[in-house]
Every structure is written in C-alpha cells, then in structure tokens.
C-alpha cells in the first residue's frame, strides 16, 4: 500500500501568557491509502493539534512548528502556498468536525452549504452542484427534504451526516474525523461508524479517526496509534495492538476501557496525571506513571523501535526484546 500521509518528527508549541506550551514533541506516523487509521489519546495529548497541523490550520491558532515534516502524496504540506492550500483543504483532505451543531452556518440551508463546497473545488453550475449534493446526501442516508432545512431545524445525528457529506463531496483522498462520535448518542454512534466505513469502501478514501474512545476506535480502524503527551508511543494494526499491547500506557488504556466487557468491582484508572505542557519534556513523558520505569526512562527519550510492523517507544519494551 502506498503511503498517503507521512508525518515525521513533528514538534511544535504555542506561546501563551502563562508560558510556552509544548504540545507536540516529535510525532511520527504514516497513513496508507484506503486505510482507517486511528489515533487515540486522552485530552491534551496533542491529537487534535496534530490533525490541525496536517491541515495547516494550527498556525491560525498560534501554533508554531519547530521541527518535522508533513508529506502528503509525496508533496511537502508545510511548503504549500495559499493557492495550493485552498485546494488541499476540502479538496484533497477533508475534515469531519467534532461538534456538528455549530459547524454549519446558521443562516444558510444545508443544501446551499454543500453546493458551496462543491463549487469551490470543481467547476460546476449551480444546477450540477445541486444534483451532486443530492447524490452525496443519498449516500450518507440523508433524506432529500432535510437538505432544504436550516441547521437549527436538524438533529445532531442528521447534522453529523450533513457535515460528513460536505467532507466527502469533493472526493478527498483522506478524511480526518476529529472525535466524530463524541456529540452523538450511543445508539447513533454505531450506525455512524458503520456509515463511515461504507463511505470509505465506496470512495476509497483514507480515514484518520481521532478519538479518546477506545471502543469506537477498535470498531472500525485498521491500524491504531496511541498518543501521549505529544508523542506517538505505540502504533500497530488493530489486532496487534489490542491483543499484544507493548507500551505500558497502551496496556493501561485497554484495561480501563474494558473492551472485553468483564464485570469488575472497580473502575480501572491510571494513577497520576499527564505532564504539564509548560515544562519541556525530558525523557519518556509517561515515566512518572509507569509501573516499569527505570532511571533511563527519565533521562533519555526512548526512540521508536519496530518489530513485525508494530512500533513502540519504550525502554522497558526494548529491554524485554533483548531478552527474548
């Protein structure tokens, strides 16, 4: 499979009145064509900022990139000029935002916003664009009469589909879904996830699924990356990760997510808190919460090691490997 997106050692910060927030500290991963790639992590881990960096939107929020590269379809994204960026956003990479209720302009109908998106990227007459809009709506299981409604007249689930329709309208090669299920009821979530997969199969787009919800991620993703304190600490195929998690954080995450659904007496949480982004990270960020930490973990940042297509950044794991 070809590499569609390649992020290498991305680091960046935001300066605030309180100080410099080190949000990304060397993020590396890659997404292949047609693949559903999940990024999982708690809030503050940097997953949204990673997505925004890939979209080149992070800079509007004051985010400055210190180092690293982002390559999409072989092109250097960080070097895109304004014109290429306009085509890139929405045309080659699309986003499904987190909160559908506020993501659409309240003054325009759903239809007109779809038409607007289509005509931005393709030379279409209004009539042609409308036809295409209705076609896509059908794919997203949106009833045609709903398209003529204004956002305030539609339910959350419907809005999420409309927003999804806007995302796929221009046949992007990659769709970034940022916590798409957070705003939905549990019953609707499953439907929506299935819909996403169907879309992917039909359009052949890659999906980057960002979430803190292990359940959702494990349901539809082919490969999963685990993010902690601005770094990807583990990345593997779904089965590989779930059956054989190597990084202590991943193991703790899986345990607390209780994917097997056992009935347990207490909630499993991870002791401690994520590191303060104001402090520049030294060594492994998870060290202070890790049951297997060694002095080396606090001093040196563990590099990425790969075994059988299963990547991990952990000194303890390396030690285990050298034993076997």
């Amino acid at each position: 499979m070809n590499r569609l997106l390649w992020v290498e050692d991305l680091s960046g910060h935001i300066d605030t009145p309180k100080g410099r927030l080190h949000i990304l500290n060397g993020v590396s991963f890659c997404v292949h064509e047609n693949e559903c790639f999940g990024i999982i992590g708690e809030s503050g881990s940097g997953k949204t900022m990673t997505a925004l960096s890939v979209l080149r939107y992070a800079e509007r929020l004051g985010f400055q990139i210190d180092a690293g590269a982002i390559v999409f379809e072989g092109e250097d994204v960080l070097g895109f000029n304004k014109r290429r960026l306009l085509h890139y956003n929405g045309g080659r990479v699309a986003v499904i935002p987190q909160d559908p209720m506020t993501s659409l302009d309240p003054l325009f109908t759903a239809e007109s916003q779809l038409v607007e998106t289509l005509r931005t990227h393709k030379k279409l007459t209004v009539k042609q664009a409308k036809a295409q809009a209705y076609a896509i709506a059908e794919k997203m299981r949106i009833a045609p009469e709903k398209l003529k409604c204004y956002p305030f007249q539609l339910s959350g689930g419907m809005l999420q589909r409309i927003v999804g329709a806007a995302a796929i309208a221009c046949h992007p090669k990659m769709i970034i879904a940022d916590e798409p299920t957070t705003a939905l009821d549990v019953t609707v979530q499953l439907q929506y996830l299935k819909l996403l997969r169907d879309i992917q199969d039909e359009y052949g787009a890659a999906i980057v699924f960002i979430s803190h919800d292990m359940h959702a991620v494990s349901m539809i993703c082919d490969r999963i990356a685990v993010m902690y304190a601005g770094r990807i600490v583990e990345c593997a195929s779904k089965n590989g990760l779930l059956r054989n998690p190597r990084h202590p954080y991943t193991r703790a995450l899986i345990r607390s997510a209780n994917l097997s659904g056992e009935v347990r007496g207490k909630y499993d949480t991870i002791d401690g808190v994520p590191p303060d982004p104001l402090a520049k990270p030294v060594g492994c960020s998870f060290a202070d919460r890790c049951p297997h930490s060694m002095p080396r973990c606090f001093a040196e940042t563990p590099p990425k090691t790969t075994r059988d297509d299963h990547e991990v950044c952990c000194w303890a794991c390396q030690k285990d490997e050298s034993k076997t």
Partner: protein
C-alpha cells in the same frame, strides 16, 4: 409572513402605549388651558373654551376622542396658525424622512466599512484608529460636531451650504454627520461580533472546506455579525431621531425637528402632540422595517426556533 404579522401587531400595541403616554404627558400639568388663555380670562370664558375643546369630559373619554380623531387623520388644529396639524406636519415630514433615511444608509455604510476594517486589522493601527473615532463619536455631542462643521466647512471655508435644503449639496453635511454619529456606536459592536464570528466553529469548518478568506469573511462571518447589529435597531432609531431634531436646528433644515422647536416656543400643544405622535409612528415603522429585514436575513427568527426532525 407569520413573523411580519406578529411584528405588526406588536407595533400597534406599542403605538397604543405611546399614545397613552403622549396623552398623559400633555395633560400632566393639569391645566392645558393655561397656554391658551389670558390669565385674566373670566371663569365663563374658561368654561366655554373648556367645553369647546371637550376638556370637561372625563379623561378616558377624552383619550378615546383623541385616538378616534387621530385614526381619522384629525390631529386638531394648530393654536398658532389655526391650520390642521396634520397638514402642517405633512409639509415638513418629507424633509425629516429624507434626512433620516440618508443618515441611516450612511450609518450602515460606515458601520460595515469601519467595523470590518477594525476586525480584519485587529490590534493594528487601523483598529485603534477606529476605536478612538468610535469613542469620540459617542462622547462628543452630535450638535457640537454639527456646529464645528457648519463654522469651519460652511462659514469659513465655504465648501458646503449651511442652511435650508435646496440643492443636493445641502444634503451632504447634515446627512453625513448624523450618519457618522449613529454609526460610531454600531461600528464597535460590529467589530466585536465579527471577531467572535471569525473564531466560531462554522467559520473554521468553512475554511477547512477550502473556502477562500474573502468568501468566509463576507458571506459567512459578516452576515452573522450584522444580524446582531440589526437587533440594536430600536436603540439606533431613537438616537437617529433625537439626532435629527438637533441637527435640523443646527442646519436650519426644513423638517419636523425645526417645526417642533417653533411649536414649543409658541406653546402650541396640538401641534407638539401631533409631532410627537408622528415621530413615534416613524420610529415604530422604521423598527418594524428593520425587524423584517432582520428576519429576512436570519432564518432562525423567520421560522421560529422549532426543532424539526
């Protein structure tokens, strides 16, 4: 459509209350005759005039007569000239209406221009200048600015004429000044709304869909922010009318404002009463128009906040 009807009814109710206020205020001193009669008039004369004007009837009845007559277009006759009040007002009304509408259009133009400029160049020189201008515009009394303009541009430099409304050039100074003053408060509001809109989720999504910045600004952000400015309309019109009365006197502009000034001097209470009523109707109609405009712009108002599924 439903919304327009609802607003129409509301306006009628407002005018009803306003008419009560007008009616009461004029009779607040308790003796409306004092302005008409010689203090040495005899009781008989007093009684006769009282009966003639219907002032001996109970207050409610008087009010009823007042409203009934008003609806028929009869606002009484001016004490000083004897002509029907409505006729006198009718002559001068166009002057004020023209001035108001012109000022309003200029105000909207300036608000959009300055507000957008300030938001786009946030915290840079242009923004600060607009903020200062806006603050000054709100603090300096509008008539003083008018006086300065008259003296400097009219008398000293002789660029603009300073009284009457004969040529188009006459329209410039009063209209622009009034428009500027009204827009000074609106511009800042627009700026702040616009800034908030530019950080909103829907603008973010629009950008992420690949819409260019101009589209985002004008089609999405500005429309949404202007909506909020429109909801200040009643306040704006009150300011506008107050301003026009004052400006009319500074520029000797032939309009109702100037008329009212004269009417007070002569203690002509039917005329004053009629003028105030007409002004109130003017304000209410303008507000109504603005509300309808607002509804046209914002579907949430137009269709009510019912949730359809």
């Amino acid at each position: 459509m439903k919304y327009a009807v609802k607003k129409l009814v509301q306006s009628a109710v407002i005018l009803f209350f306003v008419s009560i206020v007008i009616f009461l205020a004029v009779r607040a001193s308790g003796d409306p005759l004092q302005s008409l009669l010689d203090p040495r008039a005899s009781d008989a004369q007093r009684a006769a005039l009282s009966a003639k004007l219907g002032l001996d009837k109970p207050l409610i009845v008087q009010y009823g007569i007042f409203v009934f007559d008003a609806l028929r277009g009869d606002l009484g006759n001016s004490h000083s000239s004897g002509r029907p009040v409505l006729e006198i007002i009718g002559e001068k009304l166009p002057g004020t209406v023209v001035l108001s509408i012109m000022a309003l259009l200029i105000a909207i133009l300036f608000t959009l221009l300055l507000g957008t400029l300030a938001a786009v160049k946030k915290n840079r020189a242009a923004d600060r200048i607009v903020a200062v201008l806006s603050a000054l515009g709100q603090s300096f009394p509008v008539f003083f600015v008018g006086i300065i303009a008259v003296q400097l541009l009219g008398v000293k430099l002789r660029i603009f004429p300073i009284s009457g409304a004969d040529t188009p050039l006459h329209y410039v100074l009063p209209g622009v000044l009034l428009g500027l003053c009204v827009s000074s408060s609106m511009a800042l509001v627009l700026r702040n709304n616009l800034l908030a809109e530019l950080e909103s989720d829907h603008v973010k999504f629009a950008r992420l869909r690949g819409l260019n910045e101009r589209s985002v600004l004008f089609r999405h952000a500005l429309r949404n922010s202007f909506s909020t400015v429109l909801s200040l309309s009643a306040f704006i019109f009150a300011n506008l009318i107050t301003g026009s009365i004052v400006i009319e006197s500074v520029f000797a502009w032939p309009g109702i404002g100037e008329l009212s000034y004269q009417a007070i001097m002569k203690r002509d209470f039917p005329l004053v009463q009629g003028i105030v009523l007409i002004f109130a109707i003017l304000i209410v109609s303008l507000s109504l128009l603005t509300d309808i405009l607002h509804a046209a712009l914002d579907p949430r108002i137009r269709l009510g906040k019912e949730e359809m599924q």
